[in-house]
């Protein structure tokens, strides 16, 4: 028992020793462990990877092994993110390990964050091949979508496996597409069939749609076929659906048609070409007939056959000085514009001097000149008419006024204003006012047209004015009617009118020139006449003034006033009329005092003052002053008031007396007869002329009383009384009596007048 116990004790002692000697499990507390590992890591003695929860460490080797295992499990492809989750290791560590694996293991690839190994690649290449043989074609883009792998990777994979596990071929134009031979052959056959069958130009897209050949393969097939010369035609336009396939049979027939047509007709119509399907006929013609000299017109291309014909016609026209319409000579498809172009070209070529009218009519210069000649006479006639009738002057004056009306609106251009003044002042005597004005306006137009845009409205106004200013000698219609008389011309539609409008400005110009010339001539004549008349008037006034001075002072004033009112006013009126005309101011036929004032305000200043003085002087009572004022006034109108010529006095007086006598011999009016007789007697007695009104008769008689024989004086005074009675009486009987008495005495009075010399008292008679 005891022995057993002791054995047991021994056993226990042994157990105890065993227990003591058994290796100690080196337990470290958790954070100690962490620290130790950190330390080790720091000192680079240990290389481990933390798990994401921080509870475990993994050595890189282990990680790599685990990754490989996972890759295997997942069928050869695994996402790194998934790996990180599965292995509970940080993604960065996983990707590091993954790149490590990729580097060391040729069969594993890291693609787009995924590990892919060889088995997987083999699998997908197999799949791709299946797909390819099923569908006939495979697109890398589709594969990308399907496998969610990058295109380049798939591309390179497929390219590498091409011919090994993937049986197909790559599209030459798009390396991303692969076909099976069968597929290509099928499509090629379809395409070839379609292209051979087509006889009309067809859109590629239509062909593709019809035979359901995919577009992308088409181009390579087409190239292939073209290489093999199996395409009977050409593809024009861009590669792709927009291109057009033109079968050679079609283009051949097209070209044949074009050639034939051209050969037959000598021209080509663009419309016809576009109907045949040429998109750009003009260029086509250029290309197709590169060697031919074709004129390309608007709607047709013309060959030498037709151009020669036209040339010949043009030359003939130029040579014969006639005209011709080439339109009937041309094929009917030619438009008039084409004909015109053709004519102009021909004109250039032949260097002939012709004009083209109504698009198609060639008229030689000679013919035109003939026409113009025919009108020249008419133009001159019309101009003469216009000038003679005064319309021309009126027109000139009106246009002047109009331009004046316009001027204030545009006086901003001082230069122009100045020019106008120059035109008015400097050339006051010239008859070319109208012309000057018009030239100015055209100049202005050019000048302003060049510079200013804002003046457009003004321009329009101006041109309107100038249109208005144009004096119409010929209307287009007039000329047209005249030309239309020629049947050859009038046959051609539109020609007459066009010719007329072509000739009209020319003729008008001629007419205007003629009118201006005429007007100038008449004006200078007028001026001379006016000058003469004014001088005569002035002389008369002087002479008559002398006569007045013979009389008593009392009567003198009245007589002078009368003189001024009659002859003086005449003179002034003439001067004003002239001035108005020269300065292109409208003036009434009868110039009243108001009219004068109005004219004065409108006159330019250099003319204004002398005329104003004259205007004032005529209202005064001094003949001397009046004459002095008249001199500068006339000068302002470019006239000269001649010095009073004593020699002329006598003829004036005699003339005056003769005139009086003549008047007397014809009159039956007792009052006038008395008046005239008195005047004659006065002339006879004083050897001066007297201009008086009836009112002055009495006073003049009184003045004559002592100078004439007494019986004559008494006869005259009696007669005068009778006249007074006749004029002043209200009683019809008295009037009648006086009238009879006067009629009876009339002859006596006349006799007195006729024998005026005898009536004078011999002692008083003057030399």
């Amino acid at each position: 028992m005891t022995a057993v116990d002791w054995d047991e004790v021994k056993r226990l002692a042994a157990d105890f020793q065993k227990a003591q000697l058994s290796s100690t499990l080196q337990r470290l507390s958790e954070h100690n462990c962490v620290e130790i590992v950190t330390k080790l890591l720091e000192s680079k003695l240990l290389d481990v990877v933390f798990t994401t929860d921080g509870k475990e460490y993994v050595t890189p080797q282990q990680l790599v092994r685990e990754i490989k295992d996972e890759l295997q499990v997942c069928g050869g492809r695994i996402n790194l993110a998934d790996l990180a989750k599965l292995l509970n290791v940080d993604l960065s560590q996983v990707s590091k390990a993954a790149t490590d694996i990729e580097r060391h293991d040729k069969s594993v690839k890291l693609v787009l964050g995924q590990l892919v190994d060889k088995t997987y690649m083999t699998k997908i290449t197999g799949e791709i091949n299946d797909r390819l043989s099923q569908q006939g074609h495979v697109d890398v883009a589709q594969l990308t979508l399907h496998y969610d792998l990058p295109a380049e990777f798939l591309q390179s994979t497929v390219e590498r496996e091409l011919g090994k596990t993937i049986f197909g071929r790559q599209d030459r134009q798009d390396p991303r597409v692969f076909y099976t031979e069968g597929y290509v052959a099928r499509n090629k056959a379809k395409t070839r069939g379609a292209l051979s069958g087509i006889t009309k130009p067809t859109l590629i897209s239509a062909i593709l749609g019809q035979c359901s050949v995919p577009e992308r393969i088409f181009s390579s097939i087409l190239d292939n076929l073209q290489e093999m010369r199996q395409v009977p035609g050409v593809v024009t336009g861009k590669q792709g659906g927009n291109g057009i396939y033109v079968p050679s049979i079609y283009s051949k027939s097209q070209n044949d048609w074009v050639d034939n047509f051209y050969k037959q007709n000598g021209y080509l119509e663009y419309d016809a070409l576009s109907r045949l399907g040429f998109s750009d006929p003009q260029n086509f013609v250029k290309r197709h007939f590169a060697n031919e000299k074709l004129s390309l017109l608007d709607s047709v291309a013309v060959g030498p056959a037709i151009t020669d014909q036209v040339d010949a016609n043009v030359e003939e026209v130029a040579a014969t000085g006639s005209f011709t319409d080439i339109y009937p000579l041309l094929p009917s498809v030619f438009s008039p514009e084409d004909a015109e172009t053709l004519l102009k070209d021909s004109m250039k070529r032949t260097n002939s001097n012709i004009h083209v009218f109504a698009n198609t009519v060639a008229i030689s210069d000679a013919f035109l000149q003939n026409l113009v000649l025919r009108f020249e006479g008419v133009a001159e006639k019309k101009a003469k008419e216009a000038v003679d009738s005064g319309k021309w002057l009126q027109f000139v004056a009106e246009s002047k006024i109009k331009s004046k009306l316009v001027d204030p609106d545009e006086c901003r251009v001082d230069k122009r204003e100045e020019r106008r003044r120059k035109a008015v002042g400097g050339k006051a005597g010239g008859g070319s006012q109208g012309r000057e004005t018009r030239t100015k306006s055209t100049k202005k137009k050019n000048y302003r047209g060049k510079n200013t845009v804002d003046a457009d409205s003004d321009d329009a106004q101006e041109s309107q004015n100038s249109v208005k200013k144009e004096f119409v000698f010929f209307t287009v219609d007039d000329i047209a009617i005249e030309i239309g008389k020629d049947e050859n011309l009038s046959d051609i539609e539109g020609l007459v009118r066009e010719l007329a409008s072509y000739l009209q400005p020319n003729l008008s110009k001629q007419a205007v020139a003629a009118a201006e010339q005429l007007a100038q001539m008449t004006k200078t004549n007028n001026l001379n006449v006016v000058e003469e008349r004014l001088n005569a008037l002035a002389t008369s006034i002087r002479v008559l003034d002398k006569g007045i001075k013979q009389l008593d002072k009392g009567i003198q004033v009245g007589l002078t006033k009368y003189l001024m009112k009659t002859l003086g006013t005449d003179l002034v009126s003439d001067v004003f009329k002239l001035a108005a005309q020269q300065n292109l101011i409208q003036c009434p036929e009868v110039i009243t005092t108001e009219a004068r004032l109005k004219i004065i305000t409108e006159l330019p200043s250099d003319v204004k003052d002398p005329l104003n003085n004259l205007h004032k002087a005529v209202a005064g009572s001094s003949v001397e002053e009046f004459l002095i004022a008249a001199e500068p006034a006339l000068a302002a109108c470019c006239l000269v008031l001649r010095k009073f010529d004593k020699k002329k006095e006598r003829p004036v007086v005699v003339g005056h007396r003769e005139a009086l006598l003549e008047q007397l011999s014809t009159t039956r009016d007792p009052a006038l007869a008395l008046h005239l007789t008195t005047s004659i007697l006065f002339t006879a007695t004083t050897q001066t002329a007297l201009h008086m009104s009836g009112r002055h008769v009495l006073s003049v008689l009184e003045f004559l009383q002592p100078l004439i024989q007494s019986h004559v004086a008494s006869t005259l005074s009696r007669y005068h009384d009778l006249v007074l009675q006749l004029l002043s009486s209200t009683d019809e009987n008295v009037k009648h009596e006086a009238q009879t008495a006067l009629d009876e005495g009339l002859d006596e009075i006349k006799k007195i007048a006729i024998n005026f010399k005898k009536q004078l008292k011999p002692d008083n008679s003057q030399d």
Binding site: V9, K10, A13, F16, L25, R27
Partner: protein
Amino acid sequence: MRQMRLFSSRDSGLVSELRLVIMVDESTRKTLSSIPLLSTKAGPRDKELWVNRLKEEYQALIKYVQNNKGSDNDWFRLESNKEGTRWFGKCWYMHNLLKYEFDVEFDIPVTYPTTAPEIALPELDGKTAKMYRGGKICLTDHFKPLWARNVPKFGIAHAMALGLGPWLAVEIPDLIEKGVISYKDRGDE
């Protein structure tokens, strides 16, 4: 230091094991509770009963050592003579990553288990005040009453755990600090 606190506690009136256990810190409590308690009250002189007692001692020690190893706290080697009256071996203490090892020996007193064994570290004889002549460690006042209260439940394993262990923990760092003992490289350990 925790053990120090335990032994220097003024609360000397601990009456129950439970109370004691509560008083010591968590790890010590755990250590103690995991050592099987003994039941045979017998000394070396009690012939047959001593064998029983010895068996229990061994079982407790085995358990204690296993526990220590399990918690990475192996700190001694013990063996005894055939009769189990004399024990000797080694104990060690880790300080600053250095292992300080000492020989340990003690006899089972005749009056055992009433009297606790007097554990001695002969190497340290005369080096510290907390030691009797012959290298017997000077156990605290608390140990003896604690032991007395727990006769016969406490055995050698308990004496080691409650006596030598705390003593080492307190004294060795102090001695090392004083330079009384120095590290001896014993590669074989």
